[in-house]
């Protein structure tokens, strides 16, 4: 139920006094209420739940975390070698 997905804001307008955006979710475009993300601009990514954007994706944080994770993922390739080394060291 608390599913929320990231989408890219294509256009911002107003409807019935609410700030509304056309948001692209991997090719599917949907109208989204932007009232809760006042700073969002066209081109930003927002996280959307039941037709409401609840946050703007922090790109810098997303990239930083992902890079950190990726370096950890790469460590895994080296893992078997590391384990073999340990085994050889143990008596």
């Amino acid at each position: 139920m608390c599913l929320a997905i990231p989408g890219k804001v294509l256009e911002i307008s107003e409807s019935k006094g609410l700030r509304t955006g056309r948001v692209n979710f991997g090719g599917i475009v949907s109208h989204t209420c932007l009232d809760y993300v006042p700073g969002v601009e066209v081109g930003d990514y927002v996280i959307v739940h039941v037709g409401f954007a609840i946050s703007k994706v922090d790109r810098a944080e997303a990239e930083r975390t992902y890079q950190a994770l990726e370096s950890m993922g790469l460590l895994q390739d080296e893992l078997p070698a590391a384990m073999t080394e340990d085994l050889e060291k143990s008596p």
Partner: protein
Amino acid sequence: MKYIDEYRDERIAHGLAAEIRRVVTRPCVLMEICGGQTHTIMHYGLDELLPREVELVHGPGCPVCVTPLETIDKAIELAMRPDVTLVSYGDMLRVPGSSSDLFRAKANGSDVRVVYSPLEALKIARSNPNRKVIFLAIGFETTAPANATAVWQAHREGLSNFYMLASHVLVPPAIRLLLRSSDNRVQGFIAPGHVCTVMGCQQYEELVSEFQVPIVVGGFEPVDLLEAILMLVRQLEQEHAKLENQYVRSVTRLGNVPAQEMLEKVFEVADQKWRGIGLIPLSGLRLRPEFSEHDAERVFGMAEIHVEEPAECISALVLKGLKKPTVCSAFATRCTPESPLGAPMVSAEGACAAYYRYRRHKALA
């Protein structure tokens, strides 16, 4: 899709699982609160990637599941009135009340409609001025601001045929209840990322200092959850109890202030009954008196009802992380998603339904 695909990267997931295996030295019981996270764990088999020391138990965070039987019964009663259009989220239609569900009410001729967003419920009210449009609004803190906007907007537009039958639940009082319970087994929590997107991390800082329990705010993709588990395992190994935020791309310390302000304007905190658990003090949100003309319970004079839950159902123990769904005598036999006995089997995000979908064959083997 950007910001989704990267977090399903198998290579990184295996790297994180390897790191968890390297770090862990002692048994630990961790709970993810949110049903969406439970679903990801079961769907991707994350529990099976983890070392045997790490046990995951599944929390009460599925708002569809914990909506009280009484609320479903009231919704069905309202839907049966000839001048009423009952509107809700799709997940709610199959949820059984004490004797029927909204799907059956619809089949029997009631005007029951599904919406994706509360704003669609408003649209139905605008275009059907002669119908009484009642929105069965459920949700945690993630969904409550959207529901609040619907009421606020109806009030602003003078949409006098729009009403809300509400069942909102709050996460921190439920965590507090679990931690105060003498039989609690949970040593660390993955806090729900989208609830925290709205409310911020601050509420969880209080829980950490009150109970000295590690809490990590986590996202919903496999890599998010494995990273959150790693952060919890590291804390437990170092005997720390801190609040950490794994889901930094969406969650800030203060959360979404405009959404919180709307919640405050439209709702007030109230006692709330949770299906499968019972009444938790100050764990819900009800409409403020200023919006009483949109409050379905007040306008339609719904009498207080009380319905007993099936005795065989162990959902209270499942929702508190004390029992796994598969140990229940009714699991996958007398209790299935088609015919659920209790809360966690009701919605796809409930723990019992997730085990039924992804682990049934193993459990019955």
